[in-house]
Amino acid sequence: MVNKTKRYDKNPGIFGLLKPYRGLVIMLIVFALFSNAINLWLPRIIAHGIDAYTAGNFNFKPTITQFMLAVLCIFVFAYLQSIIQTYASELVARDLRTRLSDKISRQSYAYVEFANPSKLLTNLTADVDSIKMFVSQAIVSIVSSLFVIIGASILLLIINWKLALCVIAIIPIIGITFFLVLKKVRVLFKESRAVLDWLNKVINESILGSALIRVINSQQLEYIKFLQANTKAKDFGLSILRLFAGLIPVITFTANMAGLTILALGGHFVINKSLSLGDFAAFNSYLVLLIFPILIIGFMSNVIAQATASYERISSVIDSPELPETGTVTDNLRGDVELKDINVIYGQKPVLKDISFSVKAGSKIAVIGPTAAGKTQLLYLLTGLIKPHSGVVKFDGRPVDYYHSESFHSQVGFVFQDSIIFNMSIRENIAFSDTVTDQSLDKAIDTAELREFIDSLPDKLSTIVSERGSSLSGGQKQRIMLARALAVDPKVLLLDDFTARVDNNTENKILENVQKNYPGLTLISVTQKIASVEQYDQIILLMEGEIVAIGKHDELMHTSTEYVQIFNSQQSTSNYEL
C-alpha cells in the first residue's frame, strides 16, 4: 500500500535490523510462500473436481490424493513456518535486549539518570516487544498476503479477466479506507501511549511509596489519581475502537459487493456460456481468499508503524555516544587527591563552584555543610560518577581520566548515603566487586561490625536480603554498604553521611577498626557531626556549592564564623563526650 512503501524509504532501520537474520527470514518467507501457494491451489482442485463431475469423467482417487497431499503439505509448512517465526522473533528480541543492556551498562551514571531508568525499562520491555511482534507477524503476513493477493488476482484474470477486474477493484477501495482510518488511529495511538506512561507512573509511585500512602491513609487520593489516568486511557481506547468499528464493516461491505458482482456479472457470463460453472464457483472461493490478506496488510502496516516508533526509541539508546575507556594507568594508588577549579552545573544551576583543595595520602578529610550544599556531588565527582564542566580531579597527580576504570574503582571505595541493597545474599552484596577475596571479605565484615549480626542469621552470609524487605534495619543496611566498599581493599574511602544512621557507639568502633585494619587509607567523609571529625587533618566547609572555609578544627574555630555556628548547634551535648 501507498503509505507502507513510503515508510520503507523513511526508515530503512527497522528492516536493516533484520540483516543478520537473513537466513531465517528467507526460510520464513519460503515456507510461508509454499503453504500459501498450495493454499491457492486448493480451490482449483475443487473446481476441477466439480467440472470433471459435470462433464461426467470424475475420478475420485486422484482428486482425493491430490487434495490430501496438498493439505498435509500446508500443515507441515505452516507449522515449520510458525516455529521459525517464533524462533526468529525471539532471537531478534533477545539480541536487541542484549545490545541495549550492553550499551546501557557502558554508559555513565549521568546518562542513565538523564535517560530515566523507567524509560529504559520500557525500551527493554514494551519497545522490544513491539519489534518482536513486527518480526513474528508483519514480515510473514505481508509477504504471504501480497503473494496471495497477486496470485489470486492472476488466477482470476486467467479465468475471466472482465469479471476479475471487477473483483480486483475492491483492493484500492479497501486500501484507501485503511489508509485514511489508520492515519487517524496512529495519532490516537501516540497520544494514548503518553496516557499509558502516565498510568504506569501512578502505579509505580503507588508501589514505591506504599508505606507513606499507608501512613497518611491517602489510598483514596491515589485511587482518584489513577482513576483520572485510567478514564483517559479508556476514552482513548473507545475512540480507537470507534474508528475500527467504522473500518471493519466498510471492508466487509466492499467484499460483499464484490461477491454480488460475481453473482450478477458472473451469472450473466455463465448464462451466455462464457464462464464455466466450476470457474464460477472458483471465483467465489478466490474472493474469500482475497479479502483476508487485504485486511492483514492493513493491520500490519500499523504494526510496522508501531515497531518503527519503538525502534527509533531503541536506536536513540543504542546509538548514543559511548563512554570511551581512555584510561590506561593501572598503577596502585598512593591516595593523594587533588581537585582544581572544579565547576559542576546541573541544568541551569551551578552545584559546585570553583572547588580546589588537595588531600595527602593517608590523611583524613571531612566535608561538612548544610543540606543541598553539594557535598554528595563532590563525592560523585571523586568517583567519576559525574564529570566536572570545568576543572580537573587528580589522583596521585594524574587526572582521573588517565586511570583505567577497573583499576581505579577497585581502589576507591564509596559508601552511598541512601541504602542500596541488591536482592541477593549478604555475601554477594558485600563482595560486590569481583576483586574481593575471602580474606578481604572477612576483614570488611569485621571492620563494619557485622560479624555478630551475620552469625545470628540462620543462613549466615548466604541469607538473601532485599532493599525494601523488612529484614534489615537502616543501620544494618548502612554497615553492609560500608563492608561492600571496604571489601575492595580501597586506598581511598569515601563516606557519604555514613554516621547518620549508625549509633555513636558502633560508629566509633567502626572508625577505630578502619584505622587499625586499613592503615594508610585516605578517608574523605561527608558528615554532619563535628565531634567525630575534630581530629581530622582537614575539614572542608561547603555552602551552596562553594568552599567557605578549609582547615583543621582548631583553625576553623578561630577563622570561620559559619563553622563556629555549626559547632555551636551541636554543642549542647558536649558534656557527654563521645
Partner: protein, 592 residues
C-alpha cells in the same frame, strides 16, 4: 499471611482461581443491556453472512443454470439490501462488544489498583517492585490485547461458526455431520492442549516479571554498579534473565502456534469430506427426489464449510491470545485474591486512660522471621516528647511501625487514646498518628504538591494562603534551599534533589497534617545540624497536646526529650535519665 506472590502454593492458587474467574465475569455483569444489543447485532450480522451464500447458491440453481438473468438480478437486489443491513449490524457489533471490552479492562485495572491500595505494607515488602509493576502493566496488557482486539472477533467467529454449523446440519444432516467431524477433533485437540499452552504462557509471563524486576533493580542502583565497576554485573544478571525469557518465550510461542496449523489441517480435511461426500450424494440422488443434492447445493455447501472453518482458523490464533490472557489473569487474580490482614476490629469499651498511646504485652515478628519485639509495655502521655534510642537493628523502627499500624502485633495490643488501635477507621487513625519514615518518598511533581500530599485542609490553598500557613507553622524558612521554592520540580526517582531536602519535605508534610502523635524515625538524619535546630524549634511550637516520638542517634536531638526509652534486642526499657541512656548506649552490648 503470605504475601509473596512467587511463593503461592498450588492449592492456594487453584481454589482462588475458580473464584477469580467468576470475578472476571462479574466485571461485565452490569453491561447486560449492551451485551444483549451486541448479541442481536452479532446475530443479524452472522445471519447476513450466512444467508449470502445460501441465496447465491439458490440463484445459481434456480436462475443461472436455467439461464434466467432477470431472477439473478432480483436476487442481487435482495442481497444488496441484506448487505446494507449487515453493514449497520457489523458497525454496532464492533462498537458495542469493543465498548464492553474497553470498559471491562477499565474496571479490571481499577479493581487491581484498588486492591493494591488495600493491601498492607507487608505485601510490598515481600514482592519486588519490578515484578509488581510487570504484573499490573504487562499482564493487564495481555488481557487488554485479548479484550480490545480479539474479543469481538472471538464472539463474532463463534456466532458465525454456530450459525454455519446449524445450517450445515439443516441442509443435509449426514453431510453436515461428516463436515463437522473434523471440528469435533479440533475441539478435542484444543481441550487437551490448552492447559499446556496456558502453563507455557504463565511461565513466560513469570520470566517477564523476573526480567522487569532485574532491570528495575539494576538501573535504579546504577551508581553502585559504576562505583564498584561492576558493569558486567548488570550485563550478567540481565543476560541470564534475558536468556530465561528467551527460552520460555520460544516455548510459549511454539505452544501458541500449534493451533493454527492443526486447525488448518482439519479444515482441509473437512473440505475434502464435503467434496467427496457431496459428489457421492449428487451421484446417488435422482432429479425427482425431493431433497435432491445438486451442484448448486455443493457450491453453497462448500462456502458454508468455509464459513465454518475460516472463523475456526481465526479462533486458533485467538485461542492462543486467550490462553495468554488467562495466564495473565491468573497472575493478577493472585493479587486480587489477597486480603489485608489489617482489618478494623469492632470497637471496644473505651478505657479511661491518661495515656495517648500504650503498648501492652506486645510481641512482634515479621512474617517468616524471628520475633523482633518481646513483650513490650510502655505508655506515652499527651504533649510529651519521647526519644527512642538504641543500637541499629534493635527494633526502633519496628516499634514506630506498630504505632502507625503498618503492622499488627503478633501478640498483645496497642492502645491509641484508650482504644485498641485496630478498632480505628484508617482515616481517623492516620489523622491522629503522623509518621515520618526513615526513607523519604516523593511523588513526581512540585515541592508544593508533595508538602500538601494527602492534606485535606490545605489542599485547595493558593500559594499565598499556603505561604501564610507555612509561616504560621514556622516552616516557611525551610523552603529557602529549594531553587524555585514551592514550585521546585521533584521526581520520585533519581538524585534531582538531595536526601536532606527530601527529608525536609517529608518533615513539612507531616507537621502540616497536625497529628496528635508525631513519630520521627531518623527523619532528620541527613539534615545539617543548624537546620535541625530549626526543626526542633518547630517541633517545640507544635500544639501543647502533641506527643512527639523521636528516633535518632544524635544526642542533641534527644536531650530535649521528656523521657527516653532504650530499645535494644527486642526490648523497650525506660531510661532513668539522659545520662542513663547515654551510659546504656555507650556500654550496652550491641546484639546485632
Amino acid at each position: 499471611m503470605n504475601y509473596d506472590l512467587n511463593k503461592f502454593s498450588e492449592l492456594q492458587q487453584r481454589t482462588s482461581i475458580l473464584a477469580a474467574l467468576k470475578r472476571l465475569l462479574a466485571l461485565i455483569a452490569h453491561e447486560r443491556k449492551n451485551l444483549w444489543l451486541a448479541l442481536i447485532a452479532i446475530l443479524i450480522n452472522s445471519t447476513v453472512n450466512l444467508l449470502g451464500p445460501l441465496l447465491i447458491g439458490r440463484a445459481i440453481d434456480k436462475y443461472v443454470i436455467p439461464g434466467n438473468y432477470h431472477g439473478v438480478l432480483v436476487y442481487s437486489g435482495i442481497l444488496l439490501a441484506m448487505y446494507l443491513c449487515g453493514l449497520v449490524a457489523s458497525y454496532l457489533q464492533t462498537k458495542l462488544m469493543g465498548g464492553v471490552g474497553q470498559r471491562m479492562l477499565y474496571t479490571l485495572r481499577n479493581a487491581i489498583f484498588n486492591k493494591l491500595q488495600q493491601l498492607p505494607v507487608a505485601f510490598f515488602n515481600q514482592n519486588k517492585a519490578g515484578d509488581l509493576i510487570s504484573r499490573v502493566n504487562n499482564d493487564t496488557d495481555k488481557i487488554n490485547t485479548f479484550f480490545s482486539q480479539s474479543l469481538m472477533q472471538f464472539v463474532g467467529s463463534i456466532a458465525i461458526m454456530t450459525g454455519a454449523g446449524i445450517l450445515l446440519l439443516c441442509i443435509n444432516l449426514k453431510l453436515g455431520a461428516a463436515t463437522l467431524a473434523p471440528a469435533a477433533l479440533a475441539w478435542l485437540f484444543t481441550k487437551i492442549v490448552s492447559p499446556w499452552v496456558k502453563r507455557k504462557n504463565a511461565t513466560n509471563l513469570k520470566s517477564v516479571g523476573g526480567m522487569s524486576a532485574e532491570i528495575q533493580e539494576s538501573l535504579n542502583n546504577f551508581k553502585v554498579i559504576i562505583a564498584f565497576n561492576r558493569r558486567d554485573y548488570f550485563r550478567k544478571r540481565f543476560d541470564s534473565a534475558n536468556k530465561d525469557n528467551y527460552v520460555t518465550a520460544i516455548k510459549a510461542g511454539i505452544a501458541n502456534n500449534i493451533f493454527l496449523p492443526v486447525y488448518g489441517l482439519l479444515s482441509g480435511v473437512a473440505q475434502l469430506v464435503v467434496l467427496a461426500y457431496g459428489i457421492y450424494l449428487i451421484s446417488i440422488s435422482t432429479p425427482d427426489t425431493k431433497d435432491a443434492f445438486t451442484i448448486g447445493s455443493l457450491i453453497i455447501y462448500l462456502s458454508y464449510a468455509n464459513n465454518f472453518y475460516n472463523p475456526l482458523r481465526q479462533l486458533a490464533s485467538l485461542w492462543a491470545s486467550f490462553q495468554t490472557a488467562m495466564a495473565g489473569w491468573d497472575r493478577i487474580s493472585q493479587i486480587l485474591s489477597l486480603e489485608t490482614n489489617l482489618v478494623t476490629v469492632k470497637e471496644q469499651v473505651i478505657e479511661s486512660s491518661d495515656s495517648l498511646l500504650e503498648f501492652r504485652n506486645v510481641h512482634f515478628a515479621y512474617p517468616g522471621g524471628n520475633e523482633i519485639l518481646h513483650n513490650i509495655n510502655f505508655k506515652l502521655e499527651r504533649g510529651k516528647t519521647y526519644a527512642l534510642v538504641g543500637p541499629t537493628g534493635g527494633g526502633k523502627t519496628t516499634t514506630a511501625s506498630l504505632i502507625a499500624r503498618l503492622y499488627d502485633p503478633t501478640k498483645g495490643t496497642v492502645f491509641l487514646d484508650g482504644k485498641d488501635i485496630r478498632s480505628y477507621q484508617p482515616d481517623e487513625r492516620s489523622q491522629k498518628v503522623g509518621f515520618i519514615l526513615q526513607e523519604p518518598f516523593l511523588f513526581t511533581g512540585t515541592v508544593k504538591e508533595n508538602i500538601l500530599y494527602g492534606n485535606e485542609i490545605y489542599r485547595d490553598f493558593s500559594n499565598e494562603e499556603l505561604e501564610d500557613a507555612l509561616k504560621k507553622a514556622s516552616l516557611w524558612s525551610l523552603l529557602a534551599i529549594f531553587e524555585h521554592g514551592l514550585e521546585t520540580k521533584v521526581s520520585s526517582s533519581g538524585d534531582s534533589i538531595s536526601l536532606g531536602q527530601k527529608q525536609l519535605i517529608a518533615f513539612m508534610r507531616a507537621v502540616l497534617r497536625n497529628p496528635e502523635i508525631l513519630i520521627l524515625d531518623e527523619a532528620t538524619a541527613n539534615i545539617d545540624t543548624i537546620t535541625e535546630q530549626l526543626l526542633s524549634d518547630i517541633l517545640k511550637k507544635l500544639p501543647e497536646s502533641t506527643t512527639r516520638v523521636i528516633i535518632a542517634h544524635r544526642l542533641n536531638t534527644i536531650e530535649n526529650a521528656d523521657e527516653i526509652y532504650f530499645v535494644n534486642s527486642g526490648e523497650v526499657i525506660r531510661a532513668g535519665s539522659l545520662e542513663d541512656a547515654i551510659a546504656r548506649l555507650l556500654h550496652g552490648k550491641r546484639v546485632s
